[in-house]
């Protein structure tokens, strides 16, 4: 059977299948294809598409509680197992590829200049140097973190730091500073004077939760953390002179 994509659903020990056009089921599921006729080859429910055996009415009622083929088809299309067609697979992997690259471009910088890398460059390195293949089952964000690790071997790249502002009662300030020192990348500014200890520092964005917890506990809810910059990058365009 070529040119047919079968969507399969097992219920009550029975197999139900729908015959669809290739490369269409995913579009239907994502909502971009709204015309059912464009998706279905035959408006019928089969127990085996390749043998051409139409599903038994009794089985339909037993499994779906209705013998209305229309409704059953919709359920099968929505919940059934799917043969992903070639173009759909291709599309998915292309999209993920780009997504990974754009996540990296957003979140990482060149440590020397504190500027991001263009998406196209990261994509090229992934493709031509890393020969990276997208894993279909992992999210783009997870994969992006992996790719950054691998990229570090080939180029100067690091996650853009986050700049946060800490305000805490001054008595707990010193102790807080000590306990946080391992989590902080760089101190920018400190102010012990007055009732409050104030400090600005750069941290690895992955450490934010830890630090937040720590501050909460150490100051018993009196201290607070304010995010000044989500990603510290060199801002504004600059002339090369």
């Amino acid at each position: 059977m070529t040119n047919v994509a079968v969507v399969r659903l097992k219920r009550k020990g029975k197999r139900f299948e729908v015959a669809c056009y290739k490369n269409k089921v995913v579009s239907w599921r994502s909502g971009s294809e709204k015309d059912l006729d464009e998706v279905l080859q035959v408006e019928n429910v089969f127990s085996n598409v390749s043998k051409g055996i139409v599903a038994n009415k009794k089985d339909l009622v037993a499994a779906f509680g209705t013998e209305d083929v229309q409704k059953v088809i919709l359920v099968i299309l929505e919940k059934g197992e799917l043969q992903v067609s070639e173009k759909e697979r291709q599309h998915h992997s292309d999209k993920t590829y780009q997504e990974i690259a754009s996540i990296i471009a957003d979140k990482c910088v060149d440590p020397k200049t504190q500027r991001p890398y263009p998406v196209t460059m990261i994509e090229r390195v992934m493709r031509e140097t890393l020969h990276y293949t997208v894993l279909p089952n992992r999210s783009a964000k997870q994969q992006a973190l992996d790719v950054v690790k691998q990229l570090k071997e080939h180029m100067e790249i690091q996650r853009a730091l986050m700049r946060i502002n800490l305000t805490a009662p001054s008595k707990s300030g010193k102790q807080l500073k000590e306990s946080m020192s391992s989590l902080i990348t760089e101190y920018e500014n400190e102010n012990f004077s007055g009732r409050f200890y104030e400090a600005t520092f750069l941290i690895d964005p992955g450490r934010f939760r830890e630090i937040d917890e720590l501050v909460k506990q150490a100051t018993k809810g009196q201290g607070s953390i304010e995010i000044v910059n989500i990603a510290v990058i060199q801002e504004a365009q600059e002339r090369l002179e």
Binding site: T2, S27, V119, M121, T167, E226, L240
Partner: protein
Amino acid sequence: MGEVEAGKSASRVRNICVLAHVDHGKTSLTDSLLAASGYIHSRNAGKLRFLDSREDEQRRGITMKSSSAVLLHKQKFGDDEHSFIVNLVDSPGHVDFTGEVESAMSVCDGALLVVDVGEGVCAQTVTVLRLAMDRGIQPVLVLNKMDRLFTEFKMEPMDAYRHINNILEQVNVIVGVRDLDSIIRASENYAESVEDTDAVGEDGGAGWSVDEDEETATNMFSPANGNVAFASAIDGWAFRVENFASMYSKKFGLKRETLVRSLWGDYYVNAKTRRIVHGADKLPKKAVPSAAKPMFVGFVLDNIWKIYESVQNSDPESIEKRRNIVGKLNLKVTARDYRHREGKIAVRAMMNSWLPAAKGLLDMVVEKLPSPVVAQRNRLGLLWPHSKPDNQEGAEAWLRTKNAIETCDSSEGSPFIAFVSKMIQKPEDGSDPKIRQPKPREESKAADELQTPDTNGEPSVAPGNGQEQEFVAFTRVLSGSVKAADKLYVYGPRFQSGSDQGWSTAEVAKVVLLMGRDMNAVEKVSAGSVCGVEGLDNAVLKTATLSNIPPEQMLPLASRLGGSETTSDLVVRVALEPHTPLETERLQLGMKKLNQADPMVDTYVMETGELVLAVTGELHLERCLVDLRERFAKGVRFHVSEPIISFRETVSTTGPTVVATTANKQVSITLKAMPIPTRVARKLDQEAPRIRTLLGEAKSNDDLVSQPEELRKMRGTLVEVFDREEELFNMMKSRLWSSGPRSFGTNILLGPPEACKFPCYSKGISMWRALFFDYEPDECSSLNPTIANGIVAGFQHTTAAGPLCEEAMYGACFSVEDIHIDDTVVGDGPDPYGPLSGQIISSVKEALRNAITSSQPRLVEALLRVEIQTTMDTLGSMYKVLAKRRGRVVRTEIKEGASIFEVEALVPVTESFGFADVLRMQTSGQASPQMVRSHWEVLEQDPLWVPQTEEELEDWSLEDKTLANNNLAAKLVNRTRRRKGLHVVDKIVDKAEKQRTLKRNK
């Protein structure tokens, strides 16, 4: 050799550039001049294109970089023979390289304007002539390719005369229009100049234009004025009517002056009365028609035509004719040459010996173009626009400098002032023989035949700074003199008198004379000359003023000397990307060098990390890439792409309220979005960078107050735009919390109204408030900062990346309507949903995005302001191009006196790629745009709109209900989303049935 000797007297120097439209024969013409000085063999002159030393220049046959040469010319004045030094600068003719032309002009005093008699006045002819006149450069006209009239167009002498007359008129119209302009301007300035006749004039124009008025008559091109030469560079001849006047005055015993006046124009010879009469009607009626020829035709053109005719055939009869001519004219041509079977060679030999090109042209240059002494006096106002300062000390320095420039003073002790018009990269094979590149064949021939000009000065030894210098500064010395090891002050274009920025010091490594690609070191160069100065690589970027006057007393040269505001012409932008990221730095360095070497290039690092190269046109781009690949970034593999276009997102109506509830249900925040008036948004956009620096320096509230002046000024400008937006302003007064993205932008966050039961506050918020309103005491202790900070952070997140395509927001106002806290739901122990601040950030972010999507989101695109000058004929096609590119004409103006239209239009950046080229092509080069980034503007189309009613479906095709192909805003959004790898509602296959059927056993 007398070069240096002659150079000592500035009045014996001429600095000229050769200007013309592309392919009118500038470089060929310079060839024939070079041949006369013995640099190249005269047989090659006109073909070799000696000054096109780059490989791609030779291959394409056009000049891309201006280059210069020094010529020596001897001319008789009465009985004395004087030597003159002519510094000749060849310039490119293609419109992409107008910047090169400008830099060539800025070192010159005069110009040879070359016009192809076959083609007449072309677009670039007009441009360069105007540029020259704007800079006070005296032009003379050379009508080139005269041979074409005979060989190609087969014109009779009489037709040729009319044709030439036409072209002269065309050129004079350009001069005339400009004169008219300056007369109008002068009369406007008159009132001011009467008050202060002594002043040079603030704008540098008043003093100058008066001069010009007197000269109006002589500014016109006319052979009788001696400022028009007729030439054929390829055949190596050129003449002015003076040459013929001298010839005939001997023959007929007429006064030379009379002949000069009457050889051009409506003058006829009445053979009977032996009189020269003006106008054909004064001739006796009986005269045969052939006699009714203007003298120019009879005496000049006929003779030249005869020579050309004699070489049409090579039968014995023609040879005999040629022999006769050679005999009559007493030419020194060998029989072998004039008998040559190839007519081209014969005619070249005869004409070149009769009317040698170099003599004809250089005579004109020496006679008609000003020496540096004269030119610098005339152009003082343009070169150095400073009026006498009030204080005594300043006035002395002013006078000293003024005198030095005015008199072109090269004596010992006079201040040294020079202008660097561009940086030339040294030829590679000169500096390091190991990486010598194979020369193009033509060029190696040139090198063989080149007789290296000997110079007096021994090549001076460069001071041992050890660093290889890559550039030579192309310099015009205005006063004083320069030699190796001189320590100079270098003033950049941004230097202003009295300021302490924009200058540095440097030591001259070497002073050289430029000869095409060769450089000859000389000991010293004095005022009025053009030379190359080495050792300024690090001090000079593109243009600069060199001087030995310390910065306290320095009054800089006019900055426009170095060219117009270059950035506005740079309409082609591409992103360069190294193949491997490790080479980014090397590529950047290469781009820096390219920027230094080319007056018309700009290079940027964008916010996205892209390296952007901005150039004037496709051809220019090509050359820059060659330069980068072969020279500045050698060995770096890089890719060229269109730069990324960024958009903004905004909302167009006040939307419904949206509630953000944290995951633990503790806090719920009610929010809504509304648009900010355009005017306010635009102002905030303009001021953003300044405010960011202002606030960036201020780390806490106390600092902010410590620079109250700056702050107050900023506040003044900000509050001003709100004068008609009182409602919004009043709301801000009590509720303003923050602005975004990235801590300051065009979007505003309003806190909850006072009625809200849970007001909250934080440090960051009061900093924002201080920007607009008076400093308020820190209320931190009584309020809950976690919630406020969370909301602000969520707002910053959202404004940095909107819901449409993750682009930053523009001109949207978000207001917190209510905050509700329910502490009862929080149990003991750690919160299963993580810290509260994080929960608030994510829920606020989500809610704000929803608020945007439900308030009619719109895309905002950047617009370019485009200025186009064009003629009546091409106006139509220009509008067509504009319309196709979604351009909107904002102003059309017709220029007084000429049928030139000035059109100002707004074109979206999205549509601007290739715009300049298409426009040039469609208007046959008549219109070329100048583009400047203008502002952001909302694209009115709804990107989320989909046709729903029957009519809408009918209007748009029923087939394409997604409208992805019809809705422009949606298209742009989708394109951006796709580039970023975001989800796009997109069918993978459009028609299920139309997929290719696959065979089973393939």
